[in-house]
Subunit: 153 residues, 2 copies
DNA sequence: GCAACCAAGTTGAAAATTCAACTATTCCTG
DNA sequence: CAGGAATAGTTGAATTTTCAACTTGGTTGC
Protein backbone atom coordinates (compact mmCIF):
# COMPACT_ATOMS: atom_id res chain seq x y z
CA UNK A 1 0.00 0.00 0.00
CA UNK A 2 1.39 3.33 -1.10
CA UNK A 3 1.32 6.46 0.96
CA UNK A 4 -1.27 8.84 -0.52
CA UNK A 5 0.29 11.89 -2.09
CA UNK A 6 -1.70 14.74 -0.66
CA UNK A 7 -1.92 18.07 -2.39
CA UNK A 8 0.34 20.79 -1.07
CA UNK A 9 -1.26 23.91 0.40
CA UNK A 10 -1.15 25.92 -2.81
CA UNK A 11 -2.52 23.09 -4.94
CA UNK A 12 -5.31 22.54 -2.50
CA UNK A 13 -6.18 26.21 -2.46
CA UNK A 14 -6.29 26.36 -6.25
CA UNK A 15 -8.30 23.16 -6.58
CA UNK A 16 -10.84 24.32 -4.05
CA UNK A 17 -11.12 27.75 -5.59
CA UNK A 18 -11.85 26.04 -8.86
CA UNK A 19 -14.51 23.74 -7.41
CA UNK A 20 -16.29 26.54 -5.64
CA UNK A 21 -16.03 29.03 -8.48
CA UNK A 22 -17.11 26.61 -11.16
CA UNK A 23 -20.12 25.39 -9.20
CA UNK A 24 -21.26 28.91 -8.50
CA UNK A 25 -20.70 30.06 -12.04
CA UNK A 26 -22.60 27.12 -13.50
CA UNK A 27 -25.40 27.71 -11.07
CA UNK A 28 -25.67 31.36 -11.97
CA UNK A 29 -25.54 30.82 -15.72
CA UNK A 30 -28.14 28.09 -15.44
CA UNK A 31 -30.51 30.26 -13.48
CA UNK A 32 -29.98 33.17 -15.81
CA UNK A 33 -30.73 31.13 -18.90
CA UNK A 34 -33.63 29.40 -17.23
CA UNK A 35 -35.29 32.55 -15.98
CA UNK A 36 -34.86 34.46 -19.22
CA UNK A 37 -35.44 31.72 -21.76
CA UNK A 38 -36.52 28.57 -19.92
CA UNK A 39 -33.42 26.65 -20.97
CA UNK A 40 -30.75 24.87 -19.00
CA UNK A 41 -27.12 25.03 -20.04
CA UNK A 42 -27.32 21.45 -21.24
CA UNK A 43 -30.27 22.26 -23.49
CA UNK A 44 -28.58 25.40 -24.73
CA UNK A 45 -25.47 23.41 -25.56
CA UNK A 46 -27.53 21.02 -27.64
CA UNK A 47 -29.08 23.83 -29.63
CA UNK A 48 -25.68 25.44 -30.20
CA UNK A 49 -24.12 22.25 -31.47
CA UNK A 50 -27.00 21.61 -33.82
CA UNK A 51 -26.89 25.17 -35.10
CA UNK A 52 -23.26 24.72 -36.08
CA UNK A 53 -23.63 21.34 -37.72
CA UNK A 54 -24.07 20.93 -41.47
CA UNK A 55 -27.79 21.14 -42.27
CA UNK A 56 -28.25 21.95 -38.60
CA UNK A 57 -28.60 18.31 -37.70
CA UNK A 58 -26.60 15.56 -36.05
CA UNK A 59 -26.97 11.91 -35.27
CA UNK A 60 -27.99 11.36 -31.66
CA UNK A 61 -24.78 9.60 -30.72
CA UNK A 62 -22.62 12.33 -32.19
CA UNK A 63 -24.66 15.02 -30.51
CA UNK A 64 -24.32 13.22 -27.20
CA UNK A 65 -20.57 13.12 -27.67
CA UNK A 66 -20.08 16.79 -28.56
CA UNK A 67 -22.49 17.94 -25.88
CA UNK A 68 -20.77 15.75 -23.25
CA UNK A 69 -23.99 14.01 -22.31
CA UNK A 70 -25.05 10.41 -21.93
CA UNK A 71 -27.23 9.04 -24.69
CA UNK A 72 -30.02 8.43 -22.28
CA UNK A 73 -29.96 11.96 -21.00
CA UNK A 74 -29.82 13.31 -24.52
CA UNK A 75 -32.77 11.21 -25.54
CA UNK A 76 -34.89 12.61 -22.73
CA UNK A 77 -33.70 16.15 -23.29
CA UNK A 78 -34.30 16.08 -27.03
CA UNK A 79 -37.82 14.84 -26.33
CA UNK A 80 -38.40 17.91 -24.21
CA UNK A 81 -36.93 20.21 -26.84
CA UNK A 82 -39.08 18.48 -29.42
CA UNK A 83 -42.19 19.23 -27.37
CA UNK A 84 -41.22 22.87 -27.38
CA UNK A 85 -40.82 22.74 -31.15
CA UNK A 86 -37.14 23.68 -31.07
CA UNK A 87 -35.79 20.38 -32.35
CA UNK A 88 -37.19 17.67 -34.61
CA UNK A 89 -36.25 14.02 -34.97
CA UNK A 90 -35.81 12.45 -38.40
CA UNK A 91 -34.94 8.95 -39.37
CA UNK A 92 -31.60 8.38 -40.95
CA UNK A 93 -31.92 6.68 -44.32
CA UNK A 94 -28.46 5.12 -44.43
CA UNK A 95 -28.60 3.48 -41.01
CA UNK A 96 -32.05 2.34 -40.04
CA UNK A 97 -31.11 2.42 -36.37
CA UNK A 98 -30.04 6.02 -36.69
CA UNK A 99 -31.91 9.18 -35.76
CA UNK A 100 -31.07 12.75 -36.68
CA UNK A 101 -31.84 15.56 -34.30
CA UNK A 102 -32.45 18.69 -36.31
CA UNK A 103 -32.75 22.28 -35.22
CA UNK A 104 -36.06 23.74 -36.42
CA UNK A 105 -36.47 27.27 -37.75
CA UNK A 106 -38.16 28.18 -34.48
CA UNK A 107 -35.30 26.58 -32.63
CA UNK A 108 -32.78 28.63 -34.53
CA UNK A 109 -34.66 31.85 -33.93
CA UNK A 110 -35.07 30.99 -30.27
CA UNK A 111 -31.39 30.22 -29.90
CA UNK A 112 -30.43 33.48 -31.56
CA UNK A 113 -32.25 35.39 -28.88
CA UNK A 114 -31.02 33.28 -25.99
CA UNK A 115 -27.43 33.50 -27.19
CA UNK A 116 -27.36 37.26 -26.83
CA UNK A 117 -28.22 37.09 -23.16
CA UNK A 118 -26.11 34.05 -22.49
CA UNK A 119 -22.99 35.52 -24.04
CA UNK A 120 -23.54 38.70 -22.07
CA UNK A 121 -23.63 36.66 -18.87
CA UNK A 122 -20.57 34.66 -19.83
CA UNK A 123 -18.77 37.94 -20.38
CA UNK A 124 -19.99 39.52 -17.23
CA UNK A 125 -19.18 36.62 -14.94
CA UNK A 126 -16.33 34.90 -16.68
CA UNK A 127 -14.48 36.49 -19.57
CA UNK A 128 -14.45 40.04 -18.27
CA UNK A 129 -13.58 38.95 -14.73
CA UNK A 130 -10.51 36.98 -15.65
CA UNK A 131 -7.13 38.30 -16.75
CA UNK A 132 -6.66 37.55 -20.48
CA UNK A 133 -3.51 35.54 -19.79
CA UNK A 134 -5.34 33.51 -17.17
CA UNK A 135 -8.14 32.89 -19.63
CA UNK A 136 -5.63 31.38 -22.02
CA UNK A 137 -4.24 29.28 -19.20
CA UNK A 138 -7.74 28.00 -18.51
CA UNK A 139 -8.19 27.12 -22.16
CA UNK A 140 -4.92 25.21 -22.20
CA UNK A 141 -5.56 23.47 -18.92
CA UNK A 142 -9.06 22.25 -19.65
CA UNK A 143 -8.10 21.09 -23.10
CA UNK A 144 -5.45 18.93 -21.46
CA UNK A 145 -7.94 17.74 -18.84
CA UNK A 146 -10.53 16.78 -21.43
CA UNK A 147 -7.87 14.84 -23.29
CA UNK A 148 -6.74 13.11 -20.15
CA UNK A 149 -10.28 12.15 -19.24
CA UNK A 150 -10.94 10.90 -22.76
CA UNK A 151 -7.82 8.76 -22.62
CA UNK A 152 -9.03 7.09 -19.44
CA UNK A 153 -12.22 5.79 -20.98
CA UNK B 1 -30.92 48.16 -27.86
CA UNK B 2 -27.20 47.59 -27.79
CA UNK B 3 -25.27 45.43 -30.18
CA UNK B 4 -24.27 42.22 -28.42
CA UNK B 5 -20.54 41.96 -27.83
CA UNK B 6 -19.68 38.51 -29.06
CA UNK B 7 -16.61 36.72 -27.86
CA UNK B 8 -13.62 36.79 -30.14
CA UNK B 9 -12.33 33.51 -31.55
CA UNK B 10 -9.75 32.93 -28.83
CA UNK B 11 -12.14 33.76 -26.01
CA UNK B 12 -14.72 31.47 -27.46
CA UNK B 13 -12.21 28.66 -27.80
CA UNK B 14 -11.08 29.06 -24.21
CA UNK B 15 -14.60 29.30 -22.85
CA UNK B 16 -15.69 26.22 -24.68
CA UNK B 17 -12.63 24.27 -23.67
CA UNK B 18 -13.47 25.15 -20.11
CA UNK B 19 -17.11 24.09 -20.38
CA UNK B 20 -16.26 20.79 -21.97
CA UNK B 21 -13.32 20.02 -19.73
CA UNK B 22 -15.08 20.91 -16.53
CA UNK B 23 -18.18 18.89 -17.35
CA UNK B 24 -16.12 15.85 -18.23
CA UNK B 25 -13.90 16.19 -15.20
CA UNK B 26 -16.84 16.55 -12.83
CA UNK B 27 -18.49 13.59 -14.45
CA UNK B 28 -15.43 11.42 -14.06
CA UNK B 29 -14.75 12.40 -10.46
CA UNK B 30 -18.40 11.82 -9.58
CA UNK B 31 -18.41 8.36 -11.10
CA UNK B 32 -15.14 7.48 -9.49
CA UNK B 33 -16.30 8.52 -6.03
CA UNK B 34 -19.69 6.90 -6.54
CA UNK B 35 -18.33 3.58 -7.73
CA UNK B 36 -15.66 3.33 -5.06
CA UNK B 37 -17.48 4.82 -2.08
CA UNK B 38 -21.08 5.47 -3.05
CA UNK B 39 -20.74 9.22 -2.65
CA UNK B 40 -21.34 12.10 -5.01
CA UNK B 41 -19.03 15.10 -5.07
CA UNK B 42 -21.70 17.14 -3.34
CA UNK B 43 -21.95 14.64 -0.50
CA UNK B 44 -18.19 14.40 -0.27
CA UNK B 45 -17.95 18.17 -0.05
CA UNK B 46 -20.37 18.19 2.85
CA UNK B 47 -18.34 15.63 4.76
CA UNK B 48 -15.11 17.54 4.11
CA UNK B 49 -16.53 20.82 5.35
CA UNK B 50 -17.88 19.21 8.47
CA UNK B 51 -14.58 17.45 9.13
CA UNK B 52 -12.81 20.79 9.10
CA UNK B 53 -15.28 22.66 11.27
CA UNK B 54 -14.78 23.10 15.02
CA UNK B 55 -16.29 20.08 16.78
CA UNK B 56 -16.91 18.71 13.30
CA UNK B 57 -20.28 20.35 13.09
CA UNK B 58 -21.94 23.30 11.38
CA UNK B 59 -25.31 24.94 11.28
CA UNK B 60 -27.28 23.91 8.23
CA UNK B 61 -27.31 27.38 6.72
CA UNK B 62 -23.59 27.79 7.10
CA UNK B 63 -22.93 24.37 5.67
CA UNK B 64 -25.14 25.17 2.71
CA UNK B 65 -23.14 28.32 2.12
CA UNK B 66 -19.68 26.76 2.27
CA UNK B 67 -20.75 23.76 0.23
CA UNK B 68 -22.37 25.99 -2.42
CA UNK B 69 -25.71 24.25 -2.13
CA UNK B 70 -29.27 25.39 -1.66
CA UNK B 71 -30.73 24.84 1.77
CA UNK B 72 -33.34 22.57 0.38
CA UNK B 73 -30.84 20.41 -1.40
CA UNK B 74 -28.66 20.27 1.69
CA UNK B 75 -31.61 19.24 3.81
CA UNK B 76 -32.38 16.30 1.53
CA UNK B 77 -28.74 15.31 1.18
CA UNK B 78 -28.06 15.44 4.91
CA UNK B 79 -31.08 13.20 5.43
CA UNK B 80 -29.50 10.65 3.13
CA UNK B 81 -26.13 10.91 4.85
CA UNK B 82 -27.91 10.56 8.16
CA UNK B 83 -29.49 7.31 6.99
CA UNK B 84 -26.03 6.02 6.17
CA UNK B 85 -24.87 7.00 9.65
CA UNK B 86 -22.22 9.42 8.40
CA UNK B 87 -23.84 12.58 9.72
CA UNK B 88 -26.13 13.33 12.66
CA UNK B 89 -28.47 16.22 13.30
CA UNK B 90 -28.57 17.96 16.66
CA UNK B 91 -30.68 20.81 17.85
CA UNK B 92 -28.97 24.07 18.51
CA UNK B 93 -29.56 25.25 22.06
CA UNK B 94 -29.04 28.94 21.45
CA UNK B 95 -31.40 29.27 18.49
CA UNK B 96 -34.33 26.91 18.67
CA UNK B 97 -34.83 27.13 14.92
CA UNK B 98 -31.25 26.02 14.40
CA UNK B 99 -29.93 22.59 13.54
CA UNK B 100 -26.37 21.37 13.64
CA UNK B 101 -25.14 18.80 11.18
CA UNK B 102 -22.35 16.84 12.80
CA UNK B 103 -19.93 14.37 11.31
CA UNK B 104 -20.12 11.06 13.17
CA UNK B 105 -17.11 8.91 14.01
CA UNK B 106 -18.16 6.54 11.27
CA UNK B 107 -18.49 9.50 8.95
CA UNK B 108 -14.99 10.64 9.73
CA UNK B 109 -13.53 7.18 9.21
CA UNK B 110 -15.47 6.80 5.98
CA UNK B 111 -14.29 10.17 4.71
CA UNK B 112 -10.69 9.34 5.53
CA UNK B 113 -10.83 6.38 3.22
CA UNK B 114 -12.72 8.13 0.45
CA UNK B 115 -10.35 11.09 0.54
CA UNK B 116 -7.36 8.94 -0.38
CA UNK B 117 -8.97 7.79 -3.60
CA UNK B 118 -10.53 11.12 -4.37
CA UNK B 119 -7.29 13.03 -4.00
CA UNK B 120 -5.55 10.47 -6.19
CA UNK B 121 -8.15 11.07 -8.90
CA UNK B 122 -7.91 14.85 -8.55
CA UNK B 123 -4.17 14.51 -9.02
CA UNK B 124 -4.41 12.14 -11.92
CA UNK B 125 -6.99 14.09 -13.88
CA UNK B 126 -6.42 17.66 -12.77
CA UNK B 127 -3.37 18.68 -10.79
CA UNK B 128 -0.84 16.49 -12.58
CA UNK B 129 -2.26 17.26 -16.00
CA UNK B 130 -2.01 21.02 -15.70
CA UNK B 131 1.12 23.14 -15.82
CA UNK B 132 1.81 24.52 -12.32
CA UNK B 133 1.63 28.10 -13.53
CA UNK B 134 -1.71 27.38 -15.20
CA UNK B 135 -2.96 25.84 -11.98
CA UNK B 136 -2.21 29.09 -10.20
CA UNK B 137 -3.97 30.99 -12.95
CA UNK B 138 -7.03 28.79 -12.42
CA UNK B 139 -6.95 29.48 -8.71
CA UNK B 140 -6.77 33.23 -9.30
CA UNK B 141 -9.43 33.20 -11.98
CA UNK B 142 -12.03 31.18 -10.10
CA UNK B 143 -11.50 33.12 -6.93
CA UNK B 144 -12.33 36.24 -8.92
CA UNK B 145 -15.31 34.54 -10.51
CA UNK B 146 -16.71 33.37 -7.18
CA UNK B 147 -16.38 36.92 -5.87
CA UNK B 148 -18.07 38.34 -8.91
CA UNK B 149 -20.95 35.90 -8.63
CA UNK B 150 -21.30 36.59 -4.92
CA UNK B 151 -21.45 40.32 -5.61
CA UNK B 152 -24.32 39.84 -8.03
CA UNK B 153 -26.60 38.22 -5.46
C1' DG C 1 -46.03 43.00 24.61
C1' DC C 2 -47.91 42.51 20.21
C1' DA C 3 -47.94 42.94 15.24
C1' DA C 4 -45.31 42.73 11.31
C1' DC C 5 -41.53 41.13 9.37
C1' DC C 6 -37.39 38.22 8.76
C1' DA C 7 -34.44 33.95 9.22
C1' DA C 8 -33.77 28.68 9.70
C1' DG C 9 -34.99 24.67 8.17
C1' DT C 10 -38.11 21.13 6.26
C1' DT C 11 -41.34 19.13 3.14
C1' DG C 12 -43.62 17.19 -0.93
C1' DA C 13 -44.45 17.56 -5.59
C1' DA C 14 -42.49 18.48 -10.07
C1' DA C 15 -38.64 18.32 -13.08
C1' DA C 16 -34.27 16.48 -14.42
C1' DT C 17 -30.74 12.83 -14.35
C1' DT C 18 -29.00 8.23 -13.87
C1' DC C 19 -29.22 3.41 -14.31
C1' DA C 20 -30.28 -0.87 -16.13
C1' DA C 21 -32.83 -3.19 -19.32
C1' DC C 22 -34.65 -3.63 -23.92
C1' DT C 23 -35.50 -3.47 -29.24
C1' DA C 24 -33.74 -3.07 -33.63
C1' DT C 25 -30.09 -2.96 -36.81
C1' DT C 26 -25.45 -3.48 -38.46
C1' DC C 27 -20.89 -5.47 -38.23
C1' DC C 28 -17.77 -9.19 -37.95
C1' DT C 29 -15.88 -13.74 -38.26
C1' DG C 30 -15.55 -18.30 -39.25
C1' DC D 1 -24.16 -16.41 -44.97
C1' DA D 2 -25.36 -17.75 -40.23
C1' DG D 3 -24.83 -16.50 -35.67
C1' DG D 4 -22.73 -13.84 -32.18
C1' DA D 5 -21.02 -9.47 -30.85
C1' DA D 6 -21.35 -4.69 -31.12
C1' DT D 7 -23.85 -0.15 -32.03
C1' DA D 8 -27.92 3.23 -32.02
C1' DG D 9 -31.33 4.71 -29.61
C1' DT D 10 -35.27 4.53 -26.34
C1' DT D 11 -37.76 3.51 -22.20
C1' DG D 12 -39.31 3.42 -17.41
C1' DA D 13 -38.13 3.20 -12.78
C1' DA D 14 -35.17 4.91 -9.15
C1' DT D 15 -32.53 8.57 -7.56
C1' DT D 16 -31.45 13.33 -7.20
C1' DT D 17 -32.36 18.23 -7.65
C1' DT D 18 -35.33 22.19 -7.88
C1' DC D 19 -39.17 24.90 -6.67
C1' DA D 20 -42.66 26.81 -3.99
C1' DA D 21 -44.99 26.55 0.07
C1' DC D 22 -45.03 25.98 4.94
C1' DT D 23 -43.80 25.83 10.09
C1' DT D 24 -41.43 27.53 13.72
C1' DG D 25 -38.85 30.82 16.16
C1' DG D 26 -36.47 35.22 16.49
C1' DT D 27 -36.37 40.60 15.82
C1' DT D 28 -37.86 45.07 15.46
C1' DG D 29 -40.73 49.12 15.97
C1' DC D 30 -44.06 51.10 18.39
Amino acid sequence: MTEPRWLDAAQQRDWRAYVEGSVRLADLLDRDLKSKHGLTMAEYEILVRLSEAPERRLRMAELAEVASQSRSRLSHTVSRLECKGLVARNNCGADKRGVFAELTEDGFAFLSKAAVDHVAAVREFFVDVVDPADLQAIGRAFTAIADRVAKAR
